[in-house]
């Protein structure tokens, strides 16, 4: 818990710094380039359940709320595929199961509405990712954390397994922290 509070403090400090300095802006852009790459790479280490609902031909990474990536995410997904599906970026005002999102990135701007966002996709096999504090504590699956200038992440296995997502052990190994599943898997 103290880790998280420290992280929050740091995040707060970072925000202040962003507001104050253009140099910090550049640093922030670089950080989001890394996060964009992580979003794509997560897709390679998560196994979606086979055909629980009809899917389109694309593998959409959806961003809910104010887009912090800018062009970085579009640059990363360009030309990449997951399981034969072309990866595309969707920017949404609000999330819903009707969308063919595979990964849902919840922007920090949605911090107050995160419960609604997660509820909107609950039961659907969508990998929820965010860099807002306490994201995994509030039912999110992967929370990006910046630690010592490096982007790390925590994984919350329970919500992922609830919707049939299987996170591969390699990813768990490099996670900063893993919240365990509720019990033995069926």
């Amino acid at each position: 818990m103290s880790d998280l509070s420290v992280a929050r403090t740091l995040a707060g400090c970072a925000l202040v710094a962003v507001a104050l300095s253009a140099a910090v802006d550049a640093q922030r852009a670089a950080e989001y380039e890394v996060k964009a790459a992580y979003l794509v790479n997560f897709a390679k280490f998560v196994v979606w359940p086979a055909a629980t609902r009809p899917r389109g031909d694309v593998f959409a990474i959806c961003v809910v709320g104010a887009d912090p990536f800018g062009r970085a995410l579009d640059d990363v997904v360009r030309g990449t595929q997951v399981d034969g599906r072309v990866v595309v970026v969707r920017r949404l005002a609000s999330a819903g199961v009707d969308d063919d999102c595979w990964i849902l990135f919840v922007s920090g701007s949605e911090e107050r509405r995160v419960g609604d966002v997660l509820r909107a996709v609950s039961g659907a096999d969508v990998l929820t990712v965010s860099d807002m504090p306490q994201f995994v504590g509030r039912g999110g699956m992967i929370q990006l954390v910046t630690r010592d200038g490096r982007v790390r992440f925590e994984i919350n296995l329970a919500p992922a397994e609830d919707v049939g997502l299987r996170v591969r052990s390699e990813l768990l190994r490099v996670a900063l922290a893993v919240r365990p599943a509720r019990g033995p898997r069926p």
Binding site: K44, L171, V174
Partner: protein, 507 residues
Amino acid sequence: MRMEPRPVSISQRLTRMNMLVSGASLLLAGVAFAANDVMSFRDTIVKTLAVQAEMVASNSITAVVFDDAQAATDTLKGLAAAPNVVSATVYAAGAQPFARYERDAGTTGLPPLAIPEGQMEASAFAPDAVRLARRIVFEGRPVGMDAIQSDLSALYARLRRHLLLTAAIMLVAMIVAWLVSRLVRRQMTQSLQQVAALTRRVSESNDYSLRAHAGRAATEELTTLVDAFNDMLSRIQERDRELLASHGNLEERVATRTAELNAINNELESFSYSVSHDLRAPLRHVTGFATLLERHAGSALDAQGRRYLRTITDAAQRMGTLIDDLLAFSRMGRTALSKRPVDLGRLVEEAQAEVTDRINGRPVDWNVGPLPIVQGDPALLRPALVNLLSNAIKYSSTREVSRVEIGVSSSTDDEVVVFVRDNGVGFDMAYASKLFGVFQRLHRTDEFAGTGIGLANVRRIVQRHGGRTWAEAKVDAGATFYFSLPSTGGFRDGANDEDGSQSHPTG
């Protein structure tokens, strides 16, 4: 001081050869096996290293992709199970190490290998290390690289073990080879040594009844050798016996024959002597009464009668000379030789004087070289020289001046060769072999008077002195007669000053 090398016995040589061959083959085999094993072990090291690098690479993918150095370090720690791995490093995109493992803290290690474009890994051997690098690939894209460095202590330990093992095997094999060859050589050389010792005994004692015995353990060749040796001994023994027997026979036979021959020869010589001697008495009567008849009735006879009478006298005289010569020849074979140093120069002078007396002042151009002192009987050598000189003058009597040359043609330690050369009528070399026979004449009696005994006598005299006679000539171009005598190696003192090359025509 140089020592004569002692001859090496067969057994020693066999042992040496045995040890050398077994040692060399073992060494070669050992080295070959070691080399082969080390080479394949090198491959094994590289393969093991490649497996380890691949494991590190696949286990480091997420660490590299999600920038988790700790996870990569944890992965590398797994290499602690491989004691040969000195260090391992994971590189993310750049050349800066992302995570590192060191077996012994503080190891710097070698710089990472560059992996050629389009290949997954690269490896390189250094004298004490082998390095291998492998790409970390994620989704078909290289995202980093891991490099492992291993020491070669296992390789060297293996090599050492091989060499030690080879050396130990060689030592044991040498000892076994030495023991075996000692055993074999004792069995083998026993027979050989026996044969050798027997040979020595046979050659020392001339006892050919001795026999060699092949030992119980003799090889086929040795048995053959011993049999052959015994066979040879039997044959020599047989030969020896025959030789001894025939030797006795031979001596007996030679003695008998010699006695017979001597008896016959004596008989023959006494016969010819008595015949010659007895022929002289009636001949004296013929000559004497022919002379008396001439004196008594010479005036009563006509010219033809006197010529008949003279022919009788001449023929009787010639026969007398012939008988005298025959008697001399016969005597020559019987009288004992009394050898002493004879000055050949002095003898030639005496012969010259004797011959000059008989030729009635015919001019002779003498040319006498220095002559040696020889070992001989002057009583025999003088008539031989007289004969040769008178022959020279006789057969050159058709020339205006007789030229006679006497000298030494060659002189060795053993013999001295004297020649008598004339400028006479010579003879055909085809008859040279008949020259020295009794009654062998190359010219008719009415051409040159003579009995045909002279040269036979010369040869007999020279042969009794242990020398040889021969002649060289050309028809109408003079003749040269040679005789050799055993040399004494001396010349008369001052021979050159007194008689040397002096030329004084007589008459």
